[in-house]
Point group: C2
Chain length 367, copies 2
């Protein structure tokens, strides 16, 4: 049974429970884990934000939940339909295909109209409910999404029967599929994974064959990571125990990107269990690097109010509580200076390589 | 001689002219085509905005141009250095590596300081000057940049000796290199190229094997196209005479994306000669499609003031002067409605395929 069929089976199982209730003349309800902040728990051992044990009941015969009940069943139907039809809709396709007006006669005999949903936020919310209720990610259901991730280096994967050797992409790269779980990893010879924030830096390092020199897998998601890239990174760390190093600009936005890779986002903690990569280590740039690597003031950028605000927020996150991070964030708030990766080029075009190697091989990273 | 060495030769040639002038005790100058709006000419035959014949002289002994003269020579040095060192810097690397303070004694014996450049706009401007003066694109010099383009379908390319068969990417894709001119096209069996605005639609069509069914090359740049994707599309159209079809949302932003693929941007007309794809045809969505494909009002989005402003601008562009486009833009300004590609899913998840095939095979496109 392939993975999408397995997802189909679990979606049908979820729906069958409702059918059983109806056949047994019980008021239909579904049990859904709460995606509320109060049910979001930091697990210090696994170093992840996870959903807690709280669940709620969505009942058809509850005026406050009836519309959402209808929406959840509609979304279930759409998901099952897509798998059966062999198509790979986006969440926006689901929204449009499911959007229509229901006409019905109410208990007083009046003709009524009700939209299935008006906004995509509504259809997205019930999709998330189904994800947490079934323990399936949307990717496993075959939902398509934007993919930003690219990868090169000593790894061979198989997709739809084709073997893809990521050492043989030349100056191009392998663009990740929407669901990296569908990739069979045939062979890995890399000793670590280097994940860079900036696409242009990825291009440089690929063309300069950094991954060959270092025998590493090079990966990027061009800024804020998409789910596919996060899932791929997680798999490399979890299944192959590869060390994962993240390289970003020295600014709160870069550090936030690191934290999304490492621990996920607070709003979507239910994804973390599958998408977060708590073993990821940060190799810079940090504010200390400005001093450590003698980046003079003319290459430094003044922090904006937004940077300051974001850094203050980061200081409160559970995964920024280590003394090392607290020291860095305080230093940033004191100096109010940020630096781009490219500023390393003030020491010559090749200094970027030296920097990364120094950081990784001398253990100069933050956990 | 590989292509980068050829670029090196032309950069050195440009620099040698200056050296000759100095050795001949002439005041050094360089001749640079004007990148001004008044020197931007619409060529109705080639259907492109091109740079006109106007050139200007940048002279060292001209107080207004002396600093820019210095910057241009500095940029020349950096470009030559990068090729000789075998590195592939980004424009931001060039900015940082070139940024420093020159100290000198002026004609009155006073110590003076002058920054090579303060902002990246300055270093970018002289890079553009060198591009137009030498007729080389930055890509040919090996400058790295963000790459958004992905490609799948019946095309085999060679990069750094590796053959990459874009029918064998499974659910992934081939991520284009920064300079598609470095790709040797080994074999093409496609009958046309389908370029889609949205990455998620690209993912869907790839997974649903639309390109196999239609024997076409599928390409995306995820929104506003980057230079690499534009260059790749241009090559497929120019060198292989493949019809190119563009699919975007029905809104002025989508149409603008189409126009960038087709004709480039007014501000950077000098690139058009190499990056524009004047043969590209637009297969929708158009405002008429709302009526033609019976997309009911509940799936339609109200146009914003910005949409209206942009549509009014588009109406003035030379490449939107055809009666067909003028009719469409007027209809948009009248109805003030826009529609997303995904709205086609109201007719079923598979309707997207039917739509594209109908548009292409029944010639329902705009030139």
């Amino acid at each position: 049974m392939n993975k999408r069929d397995e997802a189909l089976r679990r979606l049908e199982e979820f729906a069958l429970k409702l059918l059983e209730q109806i056949e047994n003349k019980q008021p239909p309800y579904m049990e859904i884990p709460s995606r509320t902040l109060s049910n979001t728990v930091w697990d210090p051992e696994r170093k992840m934000l996870l959903l807690g044990p709280a669940k709620f009941r969505r009942e058809l015969f509850d005026m406050k939940e009836a519309r959402k009940f209808m929406q959840t069943v509609l979304m279930l139907k759409l998901l099952v339909q897509a798998i059966r039809e062999g198509v790979y809709p986006t969440i926006r396709d689901l929204y449009y295909h499911g959007k229509h007006t229901i006409e019905f006669i109410d208990h007083l005999g009046r003709k009524q109209k009700e939209n299935t949903w008006d906004e995509q936020t509504e259809s997205n919310a019930v999709l998330q409910d189904i994800e947490v209720a079934t323990g399936l990610l949307r990717e496993e259901m075959g939902i398509s999404a934007d993919v930003k991730g690219k990868m090169v280096g000593p790894i061979i994967v198989r997709s739809r029967g084709y073997e893809i050797d990521c050492t043989r992409m030349g100056e191009g790269a392998f663009g990740l599929p929407p669901n990296p779980d569908d990739l069979e990893i045939v062979k890995i010879e890399a000793t670590y994974v280097l994940c860079v924030e900036k696409d242009a830096i990825f291009q440089r390092l690929n063309r300069e064959e950094f991954w060959k020199r270092e025998n590493c897998i090079l990966i990027t998601a061009k800024g804020m990571p998409d789910r596919a890239t996060r899932r791929m990174l997680r798999r490399l760390w979890e299944e192959y125990k590869l060390p994962v190093y993240i390289l970003t600009d020295a600014d709160p936005y870069g550090w936030y990107i690191y934290s999304v890779y490492k621990s996920g986002s607070i709003a979507l903690s239910y994804e973390s269990e599958r998408l977060a990569c708590p073993g990821a280590k940060f190799i810079g740039l940090t504010t200390s690097d400005i001093i450590e690597y003698r980046i003079s003031d003319e290459y430094v950028i003044a922090a904006t109010d937004r940077d300051i605000k974001r850094a203050t927020e980061l200081m409160k996150y559970p995964w920024f509580q280590s003394p090392h991070w607290q020291k860095e964030l305080k230093l940033f708030l004191k100096l109010k200076k940020k630096v781009e990766i490219e500023a390393l080029s003030t020491h010559g075009f090749k200094f970027l390589h030296d920097y990364i190697i120094d950081k990784i091989h001398h253990g100069k990273f933050i956990d």
